[in-house]
Symmetry: D2
Subunit: 326 residues, 4 copies
């Protein structure tokens, strides 16, 4: 399919490059570094070769989120966003930007989001999971009340927020002891991001800000398969759950969330997602440079769904959600 748009597509600046070391085998580090630092060469050629008209670009992980000092986190976000804006300016027909945000300080995050959207023309933001704030050993999630003004600003600006994975802190990852391969995209990324999403849903955030738009990668981080059970366990017990949210969590999932195909090129999984959340809320993505563009595109272009859904997932859903001018 030509004209695809992809939206979980990463780059690094020299300051954040090392954040991506360790995820993949050392033997490919050289290749990965080149991929991360490139925008207009190999990346664009691959986009051309595989029918991707546009990428929404975002900083690699965890980057800003892993800098406990809020001021330093803010400085890094600004630096990365400025650099990204320059790249987008060179080829606005092929690239648009998603803001990195210093979530360590909600006010700073609000200001940087405003700057990125209003001044730099970014179409949304992408944040790499929880933040460490001052204490590197504590993970802070964004359902906490101090983040609600930030969410209010997201709703006001009407830009989607991409909740991207990161690994749990070592103290919270004992279940993976002796099994480091279960960290990262293999499994731990999904657990982190799914629970973070469920926290947002249960907090009542979407009752107060019903127009918030959250994007999850990797076909929804496992949530579609289990969302029914989240709401229906112990179905004979008539007492309502004790979380602040007013509705079943699945209703927020259906109304406030969009899922991308990044790194999850499995047709069975795509079909299940369609039967749970509908094809209007699924968006093609690759997860470049951690996944290959050809792997994503070769799979998606012939995945056994309807052609109507292919066009929506491949392009028009993203076009509408991010109000892209194509």
């Amino acid at each position: 399919m030509k004209g695809k748009i992809a939206l979980e597509e990463h780059f690094a600046i020299p300051d954040t490059l090392q954040d991506s070391a360790g995820f993949l085998a050392e033997s490919v580090w050289n290749e990965l570094s080149v991929r991360l630092l490139d925008i207009h060469e190999k990346r664009l050629k691959l986009m051309d070769a595989h029918g991707i008209e546009m990428m929404l670009l975002s900083l690699n992980a965890p980057a800003v989120q892993a800098i406990p000092d809020p001021k330093k986190a803010n400085d890094l976000a600004i630096k990365a966003n400025d650099w990204l804006a320059e790249q987008v300016a060179k080829r606005p027909d092929r690239f648009q930007g998603l803001a990195a945000l210093p979530m360590q300080d909600p006010d700073m995050a609000i200001r940087e989001l405003q700057r990125c959207v209003r001044d730099l023309g970014f179409v949304g933001s992408l944040v790499n999971g929880f933040s460490q704030i001052n204490d590197p050993n504590v993970a802070v999630y964004y359902d906490l009340k101090q983040y609600w003004p930030f969410w209010a600003e997201n709703e006001k600006l009407d830009v989607p927020f991409y909740l991207h994975p990161r690994n749990p802190l070592p103290a919270d990852a004992k279940i993976y002891d002796g099994h480091p391969w279960l960290l990262g995209p293999t499994w731990a990324f999904g657990q982190e991001t799914a629970v973070h999403s469920l926290r947002l849903m249960a907090s009542g955030l979407f009752d107060q800000h019903p127009n918030l738009k959250i994007v999850l990668g990797h076909m929804g981080e496992g949530l579609p398969y289990s969302m029914w059970r989240v709401d229906n366990r112990n179905g004979w017990v008539k007492e309502p759950p004790r979380y602040p949210a007013k509705k079943k969590l699945g209703e927020y999932f259906q109304n406030n969330f969009w899922l991308t195909t990044s790194g999850n090129f499995r047709t069975q999984t795509l079909i299940d997602a369609i039967l749970e959340i509908g094809a209007d809320r699924i968006l093609f993505s690759t997860d470049w440079p951690f996944e290959n563009i050809d792997h994503a595109a070769d799979w998606f272009d012939v995945a056994t769904i309807s052609e109507a859904d292919r066009i929506k997932i491949g392009r028009t859903n993203t076009e509408k959600l991010f109000k892209l001018k194509l």
Copy 2:
């Protein structure tokens, strides 16, 4: 459908009853207690009313697994298994037993498994996740080498092992802070059990014991939806993963695992499981008394799968796997 067999079906003895307090609202504790302590009254009536010919019974959770003292754990397992054997003896046409096991000491676990299978006629075992051993703050998983003789015995006796969920220890559950509703069946059960399963797969256990038969509840604890990604993340990196196992983890999942429908009465999820692991490895279950028998049966009896698969999932798969004489 008449003649169904269900295999994640719990009971309590007075010593373990309190283990089930706290999972559900206090207002239903009385009803839950009665359900847990009953075998031949309400349970049997509901089985009759909803076409369940047989239940494989197992002790509630976490019970034996949460007793750090190995000797005490062993005593409790023996007590519970003896009581279960008495109940089964009254109606062997309607009930069969799954052994509780003192995993705190692999030798004791082996002996109790042997006793249960050989002397008590049990058809397998059900264990509630990791064990605490001596130190209540440390979770011990069964991929560790000290458990391999136990697994060898399982293979030798050729009886299935049901890996049932339990909650993470508080120190390992910080991600759920402020969101207690995410513990238990809502979410944490699945994470615990899925990771435990992946650890078993990655450890190489199934290379050494290729005929081990592991049963997972709740439609596979999320694994079917994500199993492709487990093996295929970063598909362009040609270095093999560094875990001891010789194959892709998905191959063990397909060859050594069976899934039950307990507590996950969602047709979309069932279809995805069929398309990932095949209908021969899916087994009807309810998760009584935490879930209702009518909820499970009313859903399953008309779930939109083929009638041939309904018979296999509802009865014959379990009959074959546990070599039941019906």
Copy 3:
């Protein structure tokens, strides 16, 4: 689901009532007659009871199509349409009209379509398959060139055309000899309508009139399951097919056709239709009074698709396709 719209919903006038005799057992003829002649009593009560906000009404089958004399066919169409317009005028919030058309004479059909849309406010037409013209033993299909001005008018007025089934003529039905139960909705309806649709696609009609909108009932009369094979049989033969149409037939199916759920309340079939043509082109319907409203609604309201698709199929797709003002 409340607010559903249904669009294969029939009525009879006394002149056409007998056309519906013989399809169902004689024992229900009295009930069927009452159902067919009623608009505002039982029908409306059932709509209220089962969440159907609006029905698009159409004359029973074959009615106008089975009157070989074009003038008489035209007179009957006018009579039925006028009566329908009166009924719609009483409750335009609950009923809208689909025109019966004298296809025996394309000019008359054009004029009646214009009159119905412009003067009576009808939102489209519904035609019961082929027409007999003068000779009762010859079936005339609408891919023939004499019908292209009629199709041009449909495109100009931008109203959908519902191709409803009828039985083959006896001389063309020898395959069903000795098996009368295979006529009608059991099987013959589908064969007639699927082939009629394929003739339209192959004729090149949709190349010349790319905005034509054809609606098929009964989940597409079998076409979704077989459409791939229609285009791909003998895939190694590179010669293009010799039909006048410029594209694969499946492309017209995907771009010019919509399907309703009338009389085909099967979730597996619905899922296959979604995976072939997409949920945007599927429309809830019941086929009242030949099928029960409760059977259709009780099935659809809990069919295991996403809630987003339920709203589209149940209501908004039809609202958009027929430009309904609700």
Copy 4:
């Protein structure tokens, strides 16, 4: 997948070669002829190249069925079967035979079936739809009472009967007038074979011979998608259908029929078939030489079903059904 078995795989002898002319473009007639007359050269190379261990071979269509003179039909069947037996004898590890049968005379058909199974070692039969008997203008279907002794013999010998398509007679094909491309595999094959199957089901044949095993090609000739509607149309009418059979037709479909993938390499269609009839009754086939072996195998080997089902559909289901010694 290696070790596949395929069972709708045709050959011609010089006497029947011309029967296959006209189905495909003239430009490929030379290639098609070579393919049809070959067994041990190109065919075997393609089998090797695409993981097909064994083919069950059958005569091309309509061949024997289109010879109105019963004696001549019988002679041709014997000739073809003898030639096939010689080919199988050369490579029994790679080929097995399905008998051509002179259905024009049930007694002759019985004798030839007995001879093929007992003397020639064939594992079943394949018949190309209805037969013309004496009168070339009349199609005779096998639900008629004169065929019941033939069916009894099939049950007694316990060999499957493959009901292969043929085109309707010209007098019965008026619906395709002007659209010759709708004949053959595009559409008419399916209609012919589906109705023939429904006639068998409705006749009561399977009540009397419950162990009959009928195989249909092309993913069931459209039946899985529509089988629910066959039995459930006009669901509010409680009178039983008036056909001789005692059960719903779908029950015979589920119990007496198997489907092959021949010429229908569509994953959506395969999934629907699995959800209707179960993976145990689906059998890999290609329809060589009318379809390409690589098209069938390349599709099937990666079709998005479970690996367990791939092995069953690709090999073990057919092995069991035909009691193959591999």
